[in-house]
Amino acid sequence: MTDAHLSPRNIPDRLQGRGARILKSWESLLLAVAIAIFLGNSLASPYFLDPWNLSDATFNFTEKAMIAFAMALVIISGEIDLSVASIIALASTAMGYAVQLGVDTPALVAIGLGVGLVCGMVNGLLITGLGLPSIVVTIGTMSLFRGLSFIVLGDQAFTGYPESFAWFGQGYVWWVFSFEFTLFVLLAILYGVLLHKTNFGRAVYAIGNNQTAALFSGVRVARVKFILFLLTGLMAGLASICLTSRLGSTRPSIALGWELEVVTMVVLGGVNILGGSGTIPGVVLAALIMGMVTFGFGLLNVPGIVMSIFIGLLLISVIALPILWQRARRRLAH
């Protein structure tokens, strides 16, 4: 401590070591929940602990999780994007349309990603350019984007995707590791680094905690938000490629209602819906939890809606319990 003389009091960098911080974090709570669910599932069904079955189960969440990563950043910055599921539909419709024109797989991928980007750009321009509230804008574009696919498709479906296109949703990279799952892992790392290790990620947190102060501090608020909506659109495009490939067909009702599931995943992952806090590991764990709950209940042939009750209760209670716990502690202290 060479500069100790500068200050009458030497302020340490951190009070707690890394271990203590991790132990007290939301993520460790989620990890505990995830492990409990994993154990519960293994006990409840003899089919759960089978590598191929587990691999199949990952399809329940990988596409949603891809979007959830970008959505986490959007929500941390204090905004929300409810149009993601509709972007999937529009991107899928565009790809299906292109197939009719005889386009090959690489071009299809480009079209899926491109439509996602354009949709994200529309959201971004409306929100950051005109300064409109994101929740309303994306409710609007949610109808608009899916509405466009309905206009194109009506009650029809696009099928006939090229053989090679099937790989994105049905292919395996190695052994039981599907392309989607591998992509999920790669994106988790990518977004983790982006949010937690870069200046950009820091700016996202700053905007979410106090947008005005961030602006005064020289953060380019509008630009960062614009990029976030672009990223979300891009991820929705990517998810659209995977889902379309997995289904092998496009209907305008594809991925209906996914936006709320993605938001649930993000909030369950410990991201504050009001912005300012949250982590990618949390979202990853939430994705795993939601995937395992769906799969575990599915193995017991429990209807999907019962799972959603469970997820709904989980969502409210993981937020309510810490609050109640703190209150109880304060009352005891008095």
Binding site: L15, N199, R202, T212, G218
Partner: protein, 503 residues
């Protein structure tokens, strides 16, 4: 005479701040009591306790000698205590009449709000407050002065025995102030007890009958106005003679660094021209709402001026965003610390390094070691008190938060630093630290603009002073010709005795 209301042994603490300790106060019917004290002395806190917004930690309130408590704002109003609060606590989207009566609107016999009566009553109340405008228009369409009149009318809408006014004249013009004085006279005649809070001594001596002085949350003196002089009051407020405490260093003022010419904005300010020199501390004085903050924010690209030019070191600059301002070397320490300065929810070190990330990081990736080093360097120079650098700034006391905010901007190594009310709401010790630091910066060759509404601070720290009034420059003064009176006259627009060179 029996007091209308008495407070005994009231204490109130906030996390990290003891706002009031063991203060007592009595208000008498038909008499105006002036409450004076420096910023942060605890005056507004007392008002909030009297009106049921805050609950005291200790102490008793007696209304007409009867012990009582005010658990809610409504309870206080029922007991006959009403207040014009310092912050405007009004609703932009509601009509003027409704703002006046929200919470106690007149009802008809079915229990529904009687709009006809409400509007008529509102008109009458506005008239009593000296304002004759239509009470059915929406509040957002009013200027700040009229909003204050609405707040006054709201206070009158309760049949009160105690009327509290927390800096009611801060945003009023000359004419409206005189109408307020007349109103206070009438209230006095009606036998109301009035608590009047103001930083303006002339009006205190004009309308108050009694005084109470607060310093750092304690009561340090009270008595009849007739028995004291202005100097006595100031000495009680500050605890020492003013003028000697400011650690202003004499610095050789250098060449012009920043030149602003012809700055104007459609509604906020116009005709702003001045030069800032190396090593200089340029004070900007004015009443609240004079438009100083707005002008300063246009300098860093928050708002866009409609005309005007800025030169930094002789080079013409176009600044479109704070990011560009920071890169050019102009930084602004904002007035509203909570909203524009500190990023509550983020650790101290991240607050400090936010505008400097491009220096501490490598190709866009964070380097935590560099960040901690930078944060430690600047926070320790400002004598920050904190448990650790990764503590949330929200857990710090106001003064320490302000230090973090100042450190944040200094860490960008600017050429020009604009401090908007840098010591607002911080304690005397921290204030001294900030002042000392400001002096040191100027001595190092930095150019400082200091916006302040505190005359002692302006007088103690500035090399030169520019006074703004209603969006225009109303006077310029060299250090040698500064007196409190000339500043006040220029700020309030009283032209009788033109000491300053009016612009």
């Amino acid at each position: 005479m029996k007091p209308a209301i008495t407070l005994e042994g009231i204490s109130k603490s906030f996390p990290g701040v003891r706002a009031l300790s063991d203060v007592s106060l009595a208000l008498y019917p038909g008499s105006v009591t002036a409450l004076v004290g420096e910023n942060g002395a605890g005056k507004s806190t007392l008002v909030k306790i009297l009106t049921g917004i805050y609950q005291p930690d200790a102490g008793v309130i007696r209304v007409a000698e009867e012990e009582t408590t005010f658990p809610t704002a409504l309870a206080a109003a029922r007991a006959g205590v009403t207040a014009i609060h310092q912050e405007t606590v009004l609703f932009d989207e509601l009509s003027v009449a409704e703002n006046i009566f929200l919470g106690h609107a007149p009802r008809n016999r079915f229990g529904f709000i009687d709009w006809k009566k409400l509007n008529a009553d509102a008109r009458a109340l506005l008239h009593r407050a000296g304002a004759d405008f239509d009470p059915t228009i929406r509040l957002r369409d009013l200027g700040i002065a009229r909003k204050h009149l609405v707040a006054i009318a709201r206070a009158l809408s309760v049949d009160a025995r105690v009327v509290i006014m927390d800096e009611p004249t801060a945003a009023l013009s000359h004419k409206e102030i005189h109408e307020l004085y007349a109103l206070i006279e009438r209230l006095k005649a009606d036998g109301k007890a009035i608590l009047f809070i103001s930083h303006k001594f002339d009006e205190i001596f004009r309308i108050a009958d009694r005084y109470t002085v607060f310093r750092d949350g304690t009561m340090v003196g009270e008595g009849l106005i007739a028995d004291v002089s202005q100097d006595d009051l100031v000495r009680m407020m500050v605890g020492r003679a003013v003028g000697s405490v400011y650690p202003k260093k004499e610095v050789a003022i250098g060449e012009p660094v920043l030149t602003v010419s012809g700055y104007r904005h459609p509604t906020e300010f116009e005709d702003i021209n001045f030069e800032l020199r190396r090593g200089e501390i340029l004070g900007f004085y004015g009443l609240v709402g004079a438009g100083r903050s707005e002008f300063m924010q246009s300098l860093i690209g928050i708002t866009r001026p409609s005309a005007g030019a800025v030169k930094l070191d002789g080079q013409v600059l176009v600044i479109r965003s704070p990011a560009e301002a920071i890169r050019a070397g102009i930084v602004y320490v904002p007035e509203e610390r909570g909203r524009q300065g500190a990023i509550i929810g983020m650790p101290i070190f991240q607050n400090v390094t936010l505008p400097s990330l491009s220096h501490t990081s490598r190709s866009g990736f964070l380097k935590l070691a560099n960040e901690f080093a930078l944060a430690r360097e600047y926070t320790s120079r400002l004598d920050l008190r904190a448990a650790s650098l990764d503590q949330d700034v929200g857990t710090l006391s106001g003064g320490n938060q302000q230090k973090v905010v100042i450190a944040k901007w200094l860490a960008t190594k600017p050429k020009v630093i604009i401090l908007d009310e840098p010591t607002k709401g911080i304690d005397i010790g921290s204030k001294a630290a900030v002042h000392a630091f400001m002096s040191e910066l100027a001595a190092e060759g930095l150019s400082v603009i200091m916006v302040s509404s505190e005359i002692p601070e302006i007088m103690g720290m500035s090399d030169r002073v520019i006074v703004m009034r209603e969006g225009r420059i109303a006077g310029r003064f060299e250090r040698a010709e500064l007196t409190a009176e000339t500043l006040v006259r220029a700020a309030a627009g009283i032209e009788t005795q033109s000491n300053g060179r009016a612009a």
